[in-house]
């Protein structure tokens, strides 16, 4: 059996744009915190979305506490470099990197992996130093996550000497240890997100050593009718009965029945994609289902609802 999801210490949460990646990352962090783990939620794409899910101020590089056991930070590669230089090379902390920052910016644009290594490096360091029991990363979307996760190896290949070289080794090992690190892929039961998830899992398995810890299937629509009830619905939708119903309620019944049919069709189309996802992934990866929330509101309440759904799925 695989390691329990929240017993790992580092979770990267990724997914195609628009599937609820940040919501899921926030919910996993919240769940970890409510289960007594000192948890850090880290946002990598500096969009500030994660703050909305906790209804707090925009995160900074310096983590701030947003709830009991829960801290929030935003990745900032320049700050990460500064911290690295200070901690590892014992350079005095400079308030402003000035020209060094511009040069760094230039080199990191030119040399692939430099920006990524500073991101993964900072996160890995927090894990290794056990500053937190659990670090949940709101990671880049599916198109960019592999580049991020393979950065330590890429740097290893490009940089043959120097201190960075010495430090990419432990980082790569930390990422490869399934008891410590896992990747969570968020999807919705729709065609394109499912295709992208299948492709991503294949790439992660062939190009990285990181363990795919779970697939979170977000926005699963409820089943409206059990088998026998659907026949009842079909009879109700026939003109004779729907007219009688309209008389009884003295209002338009047609749109209400149309909406039910839409809900049934949507659910059914999606079920097919879910089957495809399950078949292609095999039994080794757990699928966690989160129901469609008929709110579309952001905020702590939604995060709590998703966390509860995940908690149920994980059998807590």
């Amino acid at each position: 059996m695989t390691v329990d999801l929240l017993d790992r210490r580092l979770l990267f949460v990724t997914g195609k744009g628009g599937v609820g990646k940040s919501t899921t990352a926030a919910a996993l962090a919240l769940l970890g915190a409510t289960r007594g783990k000192r948890t850090l939620a880290c946002e990598v794409d500096a969009k500030g979305d994660l703050a909305d899910f906790f209804e707090t101020t925009r995160p900074a590089f310096e983590a701030h506490k947003v709830a009991s056991n829960l801290w929030l930070m935003a990745m900032d590669t320049e700050a990460s470099l500064r911290e690295y230089l200070h901690l590892q090379l014992r350079l005095p902390t400079v308030a402003r990197l000035g020209p060094l920052a511009r040069i760094f910016d230039f080199v990191s644009t030119a040399a692939p992996g430099v920006r990524e290594i500073l991101t993964v490096g900072k996160i890995g360091w927090e894990v290794r130093e056990r500053h937190y029991d659990l670090v949940v990363v709101d990671a880049p979307a599916t198109g960019h996550i592999v580049g991020q996760l393979t950065a330590p190896q890429a740097i290893n290949d490009l940089v043959r000497v120097g201190q960075v070289r010495e430090q990419t080794g432990w980082l790569a090992d930390l990422l490869a240890d399934a008891a410590t690190t896992g990747l969570v892929v968020v999807t919705t039961p729709e065609e394109m997100p499912v295709n992208e998830t299948i492709e991503l899992v294949a790439r992660v398995r062939s190009e990285t050593r990181i363990d795919v810890a779970a697939i979170v299937v977000n926005r699963v629509l409820p089943e409206l009718f059990s088998g026998a009830d659907e026949a009842v619905f079909e009879r109700l939708a026939e003109p004779a009965l729907s007219d009688r119903l309209a008389d009884a309620v003295r209002g338009p019944v047609g749109p209400v029945l149309d909406a039910a049919r839409l809900a049934v069709t949507l659910r059914r189309t999606r079920a097919g994609h879910l089957d495809r996802l399950r078949d292609s992934l095999g039994p080794s990866v757990p699928l966690l289902y989160v129901p469609y929330l008929f709110t579309r509101g952001h905020g702590l309440r939604t995060t709590g609802q998703v966390a509860q759904a995940l908690s149920d799925e994980l059998g807590y």
Binding site: D45, P99, A111, A141, R160, F233, V249, T265, F294
Partner: protein, 383 residues
């Protein structure tokens, strides 16, 4: 300008942009398909999405850097006799970079030295900003051939919606920067530059001098292409910013994508560019907002057993009928909540282009050209 049809009939390039997951790729493909079918001419849809989704939607095995024509049999299967031709291509960033190098490097020896450089191989394959630039560069290249009447481009998911617009400038800046000149200066004079010393020492300790030399060597090679490159990126910029190009901003009616769409439209306006159209995808049906139907749903949810009794036994066993009525009412109200939020989102849009198209939430997936055209027809008519 009142419809997407008129807009696309008047432009040579349409760039689709918006947040991830809003249906950008599909919208681009559907608009191109409609243009080919009903406007005629040669229409190309160029996708730059690394997830390779356009091939799926067009029902094609695979798409590559070279444009291919969607076969007549696929058109026939969709039940259309197109007035024009539909072509499709997917950006292969690595291949496009290689071509760019071949075009601009002074001689064959330099070409192979660049192509073999480990740093270049890494950059051309993975350089995220490079991806955005190369997409626009490829668009320029294809447009220049004059082969197509209309090119519809699907943009890569970017951290920042404007990245691909600014990419040509940044690329030019990158290659003309003093830093590059400093890096590519001979090592001895570099060491002697006082201002650069702290960096060099730190960089040397962190990265090792070998790596710095690799970087320097790489840029030295790249500098041989400097003039061609800068000139080229300026031409790319003129095209993207020119009057023959229009922008189709794609969004759903959810908070985050719409915020990004608004930001993007404001930014276009700030650059003096004119957003041509806003496409609002996956909108729930308007009947979900109907007050009468909402009241009916509340009745169904609350009075299931009583209504089942009124209906008698024709529909089925009373308990089951009551259950179904309750579910149906509940479901309408649930989706109604979402529809109301969407309506609110729409009214909150501060500025909007002349063409605003609302596309309904299709209850089945788009997996072939027929499906794309169904979406396309609603793009054409959904003003």
């Amino acid at each position: 300008m009142s419809s997407l049809e008129q807009l696309l009939a008047a432009k040579e390039i349409a760039i689709c942009c918006g947040a991830g997951g809003v249906g950008k790729t599909t919208t681009a493909a559907a608009a191109a398909a409609m243009a080919a079918v009903s406007l005629g001419g040669k229409v190309l849809v160029l996708t730059v999405d690394p997830a390779r989704r356009l091939a799926d939607a067009l029902g094609m095995e695979e798409l590559g850097n070279v444009e291919v024509r969607v076969p007549g049999s696929v058109m026939a299967a969709a039940g259309v006799e197109p007035r024009g031709e539909l072509w499709a291509a997917m950006l292969d960033a690595k291949q496009s970079w290689d071509e760019l190098v071949r075009r601009h490097a002074p001689d064959d020896a330099t070409v192979s030295r660049i192509l073999d450089n480990p740093l270049y191989q890494n950059i051309s394959g993975r350089f995220a900003q490079g991806n955005e630039y190369i997409a626009m560069e490829r668009l320029y290249e294809i447009h220049r051939t004059g082969t197509y009447d209309l090119i519809v481009v699907d943009t890569p998911p970017t951290r920042h919606a404007l990245d691909f617009l600014e990419a040509p400038d940044r690329m030019a800046e990158f290659f003309s920067s003093r830093l590059l000149r400093w890096l590519t200066a001979p090592a001895r004079s570099r060491m002697l530059t006082l201002a650069s010393r702290p960096f060099y020492q730190v960089a040397d300790r962190v990265l090792g001098s070998q790596f710095l030399q690799d970087i320097a060597e790489f840029f030295l090679l790249f500098q041989t292409m400097y003039d061609g490159f800068v000139e080229r990126s300026q031409a790319v910029k003129r095209l993207v910013h020119g009057r023959r190009t229009t922008f189709i901003v794609v969004s759903t009616l959810e908070v985050t994508p719409l915020r990004e769409a608004q930001f993007f439209m404001d930014a276009l306006a700030g650059l003096g560019l004119h957003p041509g159209a806003l496409v609002l995808n996956k909108a729930l049906p308007a009947y979900l907002l109907d007050a009468g139907a909402t009241r009916v749903s509340e009745r169904l949810r609350a009075d299931g057993p009583a209504l089942a009794a009124v209906l008698g036994g024709d529909a089925g066993e009373p308990a089951a009928v009551a259950r179904v009525l309750r579910e149906v009412g509940e479901s309408f109200l649930n989706f109604g909540v979402v529809a109301k939020r969407e309506a609110e989102q729409r009214t909150e849009l501060a500025s909007r282009p002349d063409v605003v198209v609302t596309v309904p939430f299709f209850d089945t997936d788009i997996y072939d050209l027929g499906g794309l055209l169904r979406l396309g027809r609603s793009l054409w008519s959904g003003g």
